[in-house]
């Protein structure tokens, strides 16, 4: 699973005292966490807690990032990381006035330019269209697709370059259960067969069980980082949602104690 050369593999993402400001607000406060390589890490937390901001920091599109943030052994945003990291923004970012295949053709040409690669690009494009189950819609204009289909096109773009790290911002929101299951199976195949590290966010707690590890977030801080099993055992909860509530109460109690001291 770990494809490094003997040395103790560092985390695929290592954050120390990671702080991000947006506007004049501190959106992420001094986060420390590690994303293990070759595994699926779920970033869970309510809307507005800073999941997208954290992901933007990891892929290097977020300004005003403080602290240390290393990705695949390099500082986040390093030019050498661009071909190695795939990123799917929360809002689908594809050209609505191009067909599905034309969108993928273009992004494939950015990743693997030149005439020499034309055949392998065509293969890759066909493969990712299959991966996201859009073969029958390949020649439809992206602007005419449903929301769920559109976000799958956006996901397909990130699958083009066989990235070592995939950062997926709420990729399964609004999809029907069958498709959601299929995509999660795809993520697991990517992690198992290619050793791809996947950082995937969701504000829906029931997706937690599908991840190897979880980062639970709330209001710009990480509440806990562990496997789903360990989190439930530690908090004596039946579900991750309960565990989350337990951790929130615990944190609030600690804060109250400190305030009254």
């Amino acid at each position: 699973m770990m494809n490094s050369q003997g040395v103790a593999p560092p985390g695929a993402v290592e954050a120390r005292a990671l702080t991000v400001e947006r506007g004049d607000r501190t959106v992420l406060r001094s986060l420390d966490f590690t994303v293990e390589p070759g595994r699926i890490t779920g970033l869970l937390g309510p809307s507005g807690c800073g999941k997208s901001t954290l992901m933007r920091a990891v892929v290097g599109t977020q300004a005003k990032v403080g602290g240390t943030l290393d990705v695949l052994g390099l500082p986040a945003g390093h030019p050498a990381l661009r071909p190695r990291v795939g990123y799917v923004t929360q809002a689908p970012s594809v050209y609505s006035d191009l067909t599905v295949r034309q969108n993928l053709d273009y992004f494939a040409a950015v990743l693997l330019p030149g005439r020499a690669h034309r055949d392998s690009r065509r293969e890759t494009v066909t493969r990712v269209i299959q991966d996201v189950d859009l073969t029958t819609r390949a020649d439809a204009l992206a602007g005419n697709l449903s929301g769920g289909q559109l976000s799958r096109v956006s996901l397909a773009v990130a699958l083009l370059g066989t990235p070592e790290l995939l950062v997926l911002d709420e990729p399964t929101v609004g999809l029907d259960p069958v498709l959601r299951r299929d995509l999660w199976n795809l993520f697991h195949t990517l992690a198992a067969d290619r050793g791809t590290t996947i950082l995937v966010s969701s504000h829906v707690m029931d997706e937690a069980e599908r991840c190897h590890r979880l980062l639970l977030m709330r209001e710009g801080t990480v509440l806990a980082a562990d496997t789903p099993d360990a989190l439930r055992t530690r908090t004596g909860s039946a579900t991750i949602e309960e565990a989350f509530l337990h951790l929130v109460d615990e944190a609030a109690a600690t804060a109250r104690k400190e305030a009254t001291r």
Partner: protein, 257 residues
């Protein structure tokens, strides 16, 4: 956060990525036949209209017609580019592209190439119609008219790209057209020769690129040979286009708030 992350390594222009970008922009346009029709037909209609407005004074038609052949590509490419790049910024595709191994230069050159091609088509139509059908009296070579038109289109693309950084919506982007283009239109010598304006206005017109675009057109109109003034004009227009393109590149930020 280390500072190296914010300053991407300087990378040479990648011809393959530039070409792929140009093809993509043209494919987007192809899905919008109405815009293509407007781009190609409006200049033709306007120049025809002008011909009959100045039915009784062919000299005036020559002067204003030639100027317009230079102004159309500038204005249309300004509008098309500012909207297209604004969309690229707001749809998230710009963020995605800049997180991929695409150089800013590739993106900008791709746009310039695509809209340059559209401008050539537009200018060929308008120029051919003016010279062969409407009787526009050009002393110099019509090819030179095309060259100036192409440079004007590049200038328009550059200006559009640059102002799109300051527009939050398509409404605002469109409003930059009166703000950026109209003053140049009034001062470029289209309505009155520039040396007959108030000295202050003449000085202002001297630093506006459109003045040289119109000047270049008039050089071709009235001289059989390529004059030194013509060289000066096209160099200034090309230089301005390049300068503004670089400014535009600086507004493409990989990291945003």
């Amino acid at each position: 956060m280390s500072t190296t992350a914010t300053t991407p390594a300087p990378r040479p222009l990648s011809p393959a990525r530039t070409l792929a970008t140009a093809v993509r922009v043209l494919r987007q346009l192809r899905h919008d036949p109405r815009t293509i029709a407007l781009l190609l037909i409006v200049p033709v209609l306007m120049i025809t209209l002008l011909r009959y407005v100045f039915d009784a004074s062919p000299q005036t038609f020559d002067a204003i017609g030639a100027s317009l052949l230079g102004i159309f590509p500038l204005i249309t490419m300004f509008l098309v580019t500012s909207i297209a790049t604004l969309r690229e910024r707001t749809s998230g595709t710009l963020e995605r592209l800049l997180a991929m191994p695409l150089g800013k230069g590739d993106l900008i050159a791709g746009y310039a190439l695509a809209f340059g091609a559209v401008a050539v088509a537009q200018s060929v139509l308008a120029t051919a119609l003016s010279v062969w059908v409407l009787g526009l009296d050009v002393v110099g070579s019509p090819w030179l008219l095309l060259l100036v038109a192409l440079l004007d289109a590049l200038l328009g693309t550059a200006l559009g790209l640059f102002v799109s950084a300051f527009a939050a919506s398509e409404f605002q982007a469109v409003q930059f057209m009166p703000a950026v283009i109209f003053p140049q239109l009034l001062l470029c010598g289209l309505f009155t020769p520039r040396d007959r304006m108030h000295p202050v206005l003449e000085a202002v017109s001297n630093v506006m690129p459109m003045s040289y675009a119109v000047d270049g057109m008039n050089q071709v109109l009235t001289h059989t040979d390529v004059t030194t003034d013509f060289y000066r004009d096209i160099l200034i227009v090309a230089g301005c286009a390049l300068l503004v393109l670089c400014l535009g590149a600086a507004t493409l930020r990989r990291r945003t708030g």
